[in-house]
């Protein structure tokens, strides 16, 4: 029999422990979604009486589908805005020389150091003064551009040689077309990563949607699910069922985009 190197055993053990720590809450979430309320605090993964009633109730008797649609709409639109604006600003800061370029970049970077909890008050005042409270635009506007995305895209554009852009200038396309047709296709790994981060961040966002929305028809999933949790008792089986359904789109997005990220890593290792 082939001997397994001790180093590999250590690595696999560590990976296994990591996987257990990561997977247990997820497995518990799916497991709890098939349990009745009185079983919810039992640790058994498989219920003695598995039931689909939570799912039937979630889709039949709550506004879950509306929250789901709202979440999809808000997360997708925010992600699209972030991809467009962050890559455009990152590209401009990277590839054009103009006065004040460094100061603008530092100013954008410095926004990374301010926590969301501090920003919600100015956001709220802004939304109130502009009449954006309790609206889709109100939900979306704080996230349409992020300092992190600008930084990430700028760093990736650094790896795109200027010769490609010069070749396109000689080929006679406009600066905006150079950005969309030449530069953007060369940074798809970064865009994929940014898309995943942004989508996940907005999909799970709780604080700002909770503050800015007051009508139930604008609730996103996290805000909607919180309504299952009352002052005296929480319907954990419903929260877990909602969370289980809510995790599916994120898994799907990751499965679709991960190959671009992996391909990006492989391509980045070779000199063109």
């Amino acid at each position: 029999m082939k001997q397994i190197a001790p180093k590999k055993i250590v690595i696999w053990t560590l990976l296994f422990i990591g996987a257990v720590i990561m997977m247990t809450p997820i497995i518990f979430m799916f497991s709890a979604s098939f349990k009745f309320n009185d079983e919810i605090y039992e640790l058994a993964l498989i219920s003695s009486e598995p039931t689909l009633s939570n799912y039937i109730y979630l889709f039949g008797n709550t506004e879950f589908l509306m929250w789901f649609t709202n979440s999809i709409f808000v997360a997708l639109l925010t992600t699209l805005c972030v991809l467009f604006f962050d890559s455009l600003v990152g590209y401009t800061l990277c590839k054009f020389r103009f006065r004040g370029r460094k100061i603008i970049f530092i100013a954008i970077l410095s926004t990374l150091m301010i926590p969301t909890e501090m920003l919600v008050i100015p956001w709220y005042i802004l939304a109130r003064d502009l009449g954006l409270l309790d609206s889709y635009i109100g939900l979306i506007f704080p996230g349409i551009m992020t300092g992190f995305g600008v930084f990430l895209m700028k760093q990736f554009f650094e790896s795109v040689p200027d010769d490609y852009l010069d070749a396109a200038r000689i080929d006679g396309i406009s600066e905006f077309e150079i950005f969309t047709k030449i530069a953007i296709p060369m940074v798809t790994p970064a865009l994929s990563a940014l898309a995943i981060f942004t989508f996940l961040g907005n999909w799970t966002a709780f604080l700002w949607p909770l503050i800015v929305t007051s009508s139930a028809e604008l609730y996103t999933i996290p805000v909607g699910l919180s309504s299952f949790s009352g002052e005296f008792q929480s319907e954990w089986e419903m929260i877990m069922t909602g969370a289980a359904v809510a995790s599916l789109p994120t898994l799907l997005i990751f499965l679709i985009l991960q190959r671009y990220i992996i391909r990006g890593v492989i391509l980045g290792g070779l000199k063109e």
Partner: protein, 336 residues
């Protein structure tokens, strides 16, 4: 008509005290259909000059004309030029066919006409089999040909080549050099070609411009430059192996090419011959010829002799210099 005129061109990078002038009041005329090679050591400003003609770099002063148009303020696309980059700059996400046709599609040319032009270029450059491949799936030589195809289909007034062969190995470089020369004969278009390789310059050029520190050192046909260099820099730059320079007592430097020195036994009859003794240090047989490096009064001296030399290292040998071919340079490096 697609002659190119550079008149009193200058270029500085940076501002104020930190400003560096890389091109200094340069005048140059490139005739219609001429293949002009700009050559010089790295940092001499040759690529900057080419990029200024292309419109990729602003000019700090002077005028650039292509044909009868002053193009100073025109965008690259309005200058009707084609540029072949050192790293080819083929769009990695597009097929060969898309790469070649990109400029034509951008110009909204008729689709049938684009197809026709791309097919013609592919045939000339033998790219027909590769049209669906991506640049990453091509060899260096193939990428080079695609880059030339992309330039060709535009039917430009002027081709600009920026060290296009420097990423290829020596063998491929020689064959691509030939291909560029053939292409020039066939297309009869003005070409400005930048290289740091004097061999490439010698074999390709109708005329060579030698640049150093942003200034023209000499302009002329390859043989003019070889036989009649204006200064010590040109003399040393053109020719391989390099010209020998021997310091004289009067401050002058004597220059003599390795093939104009003979071993005493095999020297032809020369109208003006100088004799000297030197000690052989190294012998490098190259097959058809042999390079001999001598020590002459503490100075190195390279001699190129045909065939195989039978001299032993360490032996003192009498050498004959063809006095008619000797050049003298003053303290300032200029010919005297």
């Amino acid at each position: 008509m697609s002659k190119v005129s550079l008149s009193n061109i200058s270029k500085s990078f940076g501002q104020g005290k930190k400003s560096v002038e890389v091109i200094k009041n340069l005048d140059l005329e490139i005739a219609d259909k001429e293949l002009l090679v700009l050559v010089g050591p790295s940092g001499c400003g040759k690529s900057t000059l080419l990029r200024m003609v292309a419109g990729l770099e602003d000019i700090s002063g002077g005028d650039i004309s292509i044909g009868d148009r002053v193009v100073n303020n025109l965008e690259p696309r309005e200058r009707n030029i084609a540029f072949v980059f050192q790293n080819y700059a083929l769009y990695p996400h597009m097929s060969v066919e898309k790469n070649i046709s990109f400029g034509l599609r951008a110009a909204k040319m008729d689709k049938a006409l684009i197809k026709e032009k791309v097919a013609a270029a592919a045939e000339i450059l033998e790219l027909e089999e590769l049209m669906d491949r991506k640049p990453a799936e091509l060899s260096g030589g193939q990428r080079q040909r695609v880059a030339m195809g992309r330039a060709m289909v535009r039917e430009p007034d002027v081709f600009l080549f920026d060290e296009p062969l420097s990423n290829l190995d020596a063998k491929l470089r020689a064959s691509m050099r030939l291909e560029i020369k053939r292409l020039h004969e066939r297309l009869k278009t003005t070409i400005i070609y930048v290289t740091h390789d004097q061999m490439e310059a010698m074999t390709l050029a109708d005329r060579i411009v030698i640049l150093k520190d942003g200034e023209i050192q000499q302009i002329g046909s390859p043989m003019e430059l070889y036989q009649n260099p204006a200064n010590q820099f040109v003399a040393g730059f053109i020719g391989s192996p390099e010209m020998n320079f021997l310091a004289g007592e009067d401050g002058k430097t004597m220059g003599i090419r390795p093939e104009d020195i003979y071993l005493a036994g095999s020297a032809p009859e020369l109208s003006e011959a100088k004799r000297m003794n030197a000690t052989l240090q190294v012998s490098e047989p190259l097959g058809a010829e042999t390079l001999l490096t001598f020590d002459f009064e503490g100075q190195g001296l390279t001699v190129k002799v045909p065939g195989v030399a039978t001299v032993e290292a360490g032996a003192e040998v009498e050498l004959v210099i063809d006095g008619g071919k000797v050049c003298f340079f003053g303290m300032d490096g200029e010919r005297c």
